[in-house]
Amino acid sequence: MSVVTAVTCPVCGCLCDDIELTIHDNKVVKVKNGCAMCEAKFMGYSSEHRLLKPMIRKNGELVKVSITEAVKKAANILAEANYPVLYGWSNTSCEAISVGIELAEEVGGVIDNTSVVCHGPSLLSIQEVGIPSCTLGQVRHRADLIIYWGSNPWSSHPRHIERYTAFSHGRFKKSAWKNYVTKIKALVGRKKVQSAIKRLFVKEKIPSAVALSNFRHTPYLQTGKNSRKLIVVDVRRTKSAEIADYFVQIEPNKDYELLQALRALVRDQELEVDNVAGVPVEYLEEIVDAMVSCDFGALFFGLGLTMSGGKMRNIDAALSLVRDLNMRTKFVIMPMRGHFNVAGANTVFTWQTGYPYAVDFSLGYPRYNPGETSVVDILLRKESDAALIVASDPISNFPRKAAEHLTENPLIAIDPHMNVTAQVADVVIPSAFAGIEAAGTAYRMDHVPIPLKKVVEPPKGVLPDETILQRILAEVKKLKQANVREEA
């Protein structure tokens, strides 16, 4: 039995790097500090649907082959294609992504990552407006006002609040958890409160002074200079909304109107209506007061804002609101990135090609025109003639027409799991789990690079994405050289 500390959790964009794992017999047997999602991943990653052998479709059936044969077949497909797409990349290491980009360049294809179906509009807006932001520790140390907009961190990024925002403990701003615990207590059962407290104090002993029965009488309940306020804006009353100081329940697809109203109020303009997006203007005024009078505000937005009606317009407005707020106080904004290394995919794409996603190499240099060079659009126009999917499952989450076009052409899947994409693929190559069975680097949602550890050995013969891609790349180069020689 051995204990590994400071392990990075390869699940969500929080990229918590304080996980402690107990390993026994090349298996994770205990997870400390992680949330439920983290625990599920480390304990259960290898259970069902694990891919163990490379396969190639022969006469309609996937049959097991050697890794060499699978790599050769994959290289053949890519080298022969005119316009292949290489997609996925948000659940693997930067090192693998880097090889993927070279491969895309080599075969003159399009490389795209999952941003295209999540925070793509956010990236486009940032390119229009810019973005005032920071690392998460800055929020922890300084923010006294936290806003989650169209995001429910309580379930999508379970430790975001306790590690980085309202419940965290910073140099200048103290944790607001005591306030919340009383609030939760009023709302939910005793058991939930206890588990919440336990999570918050996971590294320390629970001080006896906070024993629940005494809670009401403890001097901890402060709402002073150093306390934090939490605002949640959402169409639904989520778990996160329940612990907020202000919950703004907004009518669906009205985010843009609400953001513009807030912008007007921040600029001291009067609103001539009583309600905006179903929210009374008086309430909005109160919220704007909180915004302009805080020392440091932070707005986190999720897919609820990015994917609701208006999309890019919404993000433009949110970025502009925060930019305007900087005339009054300090304010930052950050997208809540989902996959653990989607930020890393954007980062590596950008330093090597200049663009964060949807990069087309068909003319021999990087081109970027989302809507045209983005993978879903290419598939819908039926332009691609082969695909390589790495650590992603587009067949089950792309629009049906796009998924259909994927299956109509040679399809290669590199994945640890037998997911739907792998099931319909022509070449399937099993890979090691990045951050569990393979080391590397990932970027947190705030662009802080954090190393991924290899804590257990992958199943025999299973290689990391990086190695598989390198082998395919080498094979493609060989094929191309052979072609050149033939022509000569």
Binding site: T5, A6, T8, D17, D18, C94, S98, E102, E105, L123, I126, Q127, E128, V129, G130, I131, P132, S133, C134, T135, L136, G137, Q138, R140, H141, R142, R163, H169, R171, F172, D295, F296, R323, N326, T329, K330, V332, N346, T347, V348, T350, W351, Q352, T353, G354, Y355, P356, F361, L363, G364, Y365, P366, Y368, T441, Y443, H447, V448, P449, I450, P451
Partner: protein
């Protein structure tokens, strides 16, 4: 492999060679006394200028900030791209080129070493990943330490040795090369949207002043015996009247100098040489700065020359970048880094017809020409802040030719022209002075003994330019100067020809230089430090340092310090 460069006009100021025709012999990546004439590959450099490879002391080429700049500016890339070839990777260019393109473009100009001057320690891995993807040139990076909480706290308590030990730990952990200060104290204040405006302002919550930080880190630098001095971006950068702040910054460490050696480097000095009370009364403070620098020996500077073009400004100076955003109305990125520093990015277009921009253009050249000793003033644009590095050949031409300056002066804002000191400056630099400002002086200021010269034992990093100083007058033929410096006839890196006449012949990695600073008592991981670490940062201590495998080619330099 052996190489013999024959019959060139060699400019090697460090070894006192000034245009003499001598042969340069290369073996195993180093300059040697001689090689076997029959076996060696020969380069006929007759009628050409031979210099050490170019060195750039300050150019933002890698890391989170640069990458945010790339992300922010797709419009910057659309028109300028490089296709993949059999040898090279593809990429995009203009003001924030992608990494591969950055390496190629520097190499084409005869540059072989570039320093990225602003690495947020928390994001050091990112900087190194990008540097490793920047081919053909050697490189290094300076961690931003002027607003790091550890530094502020130790200096407040007057614990200079403790401070030095932690700085040593930090430089080693981030694989950095020098101590960088940006608007010291101002960045911590920016954490709550504030700034400092003088060397004696108290930094909120920390009770130290910019003056104490500058002096403190200057002493730390000396205690540790680092090869470069502290590298300072002054307070009040970009604010009219700031030449006084620059003077005070240089003065405030005067007494720490010993033996005529520099103890401070003021970077992109043009941006800190503004006179006047506001933008209307704005004018050049270059003369005042030059007078001071001419009379002392403890300072080196680099220009931060402005080029009339569209570019992307990016510094760790968050408050300055915000003011540039409000001034220009252009899009703005801000990225504050917990416990350490900040970042701001704003696209910017320097226009010839704008009085302020044209005056800035003039200030950079005035500094370079009024400061008599070229070892003290190095050529940079603070890429991409004053303009992209691909504009260097233009600056060389301006420095070598009065005619070139006049040609530009004619086309700038009339008020700026009439006030420009350039009208009254006749000085024209020669190739030896250019070699100092673009390589020898840069390497010397950086304390890089194996760079910037062609003496036996030096790294065989060599640039050859197709210009015959015997038959051609650079002052009159300034356009030819521009042309030859744009595309070196040969760029030789570690004894290999990597580029020829603007064509990249090889894609090889350069090395990343870093300091392994060993103190007598290391800053050990005490329980106290571990506690503070947990409190100050959101990543674990184990995950913070940059391990050597992040460097494609690692070139450690051991520094033994007596603290």
């Amino acid at each position: 492999m052996e190489l013999l460069i024959k019959n060139g006009f060699v400019y090697d100021p460090i070894n006192g060679v000034n245009g003499e025709k001598i042969d340069i012999a290369v073996k195993n990546g180093k300059i040697v006394e001689k090689v076997n004439e029959c076996k060696a590959k020969k380069i006929n450099a007759s009628g050409m200028v031979v210099m050490p490879g170019g060195v750039d002391i300050h150019s933002h080429i890698a890391g989170g900030k640069v990458n945010s700049g790339r992300l922010l500016r797709p419009e910057d890339h659309y028109r300028d791209f490089e296709k993949k070839t059999r040898i090279t990777r593809s990429g995009v260019g203009r003001s924030v080129p992608s990494t591969f393109t950055t390496g190629y473009r520097y190499a084409r100009m005869g540059y072989t070493m570039v320093m990225d001057p602003a690495m947020p320690p928390l994001e050091a891995k990112h900087t190194h990943e990008e540097l490793s993807d920047t081919p053909l040139i050697d490189k290094a990076s300076y961690p931003l330490l002027g607003d790091w909480w550890f530094v502020l706290e130790y200096l407040k308590d007057g614990k200079i040795e403790e401070c030095a030990r932690h700085v040593a730990w930090m430089i080693t952990a981030t694989k950095g090369y020098a101590i960088k200060l940006v608007n010291p104290g101002g960045l911590e204040a920016w954490g709550f949207g504030n700034n400092v405006s003088s060397l004696d302002d108290q930094i909120p919550h920390f009770g130290v002043t910019p003056r104490e930080i500058i002096r403190g880190l200057c002493k730390v630098n000396q205690l540790l015996g680092l090869p470069h001095t502290i590298h300072v971006h002054t307070n009040n950068l970009g604010v009219p009247g700031n030449y006084a702040t620059a003077l005070e910054t240089m003065r405030c460490v005067e007494d720490l100098a010993a033996g005529g050696k520099p103890v401070i480097h003021i970077t992109h000095c043009q941006f800190s040489a503004f006179k006047g009370d506001d933008w209307r009364t704005f004018e050049s403070g270059a003369e005042e700065i030059a007078n001071y620098v001419n009379a002392c020996s403890h300072v080196t500077l680099d220009m931060g020359q402005v080029i009339f073009t569209d570019t992307t400004t990016m510094t760790a100076d968050g408050p300055f970048q915000y003011s540039l955003h409000t001034l220009s109305g252009n899009k703005w990125v801000n990225h504050d880094v917990e416990t350490e520093t900040s970042t701001g990015i704003v696209p910017f277009h320097y226009k010839r017809k704008n009085y302020v921009h044209a005056t800035q253009w003039s200030i950079g050249l005035e500094l370079a020409l009024l400061i008599r000793d070229p070892w003290k003033i190095l050529m940079t644009t603070d890429h991409p802040n004053g303009g992209p590095f691909i504009a260097y050949p233009k600056i060389v031409a301006w420095l070598m030719s009065r005619k070139a300056r006049e040609a530009t002066l004619k086309r700038i804002n009339p008020k700026a022209r009439s006030r420009s000191l350039l009208q009254s400056i006749d000085r024209e630099l020669d190739f030896s002075e250019i070699a100092i400002m673009t390589r020898a002086g840069q390497a010397k200021a950086l304390g890089l003994n194996c760079k910037g010269h062609l003496g036996v034992g030096a790294d065989a990093d060599i640039a050859i330019y197709n210009f015959n100083p015997e038959t051609t007058d650079p002052s009159r033929k300034y356009k030819a100067v521009r042309r030859v410096f744009k595309k070196a006839a040969y760029t030789i890196k570690n004894g290999q020809i990597v580029a020829k006449d603007g064509e990249v012949l090889r894609h090889v990695n350069g090395a990343t230089f870093w300091l392994n600073v060993q103190t007598r008592e290391p800053a050990v991981l005490t329980a106290e430090m571990q506690r503070r670490f947990k409190e100050y940062w959101t990543v674990e201590y184990e995950n913070y340092p940059v391990s050597e495998n992040y460097l494609a080619v690692s070139h450690p330099i051991t520094v033994k310090a007596d603290v």
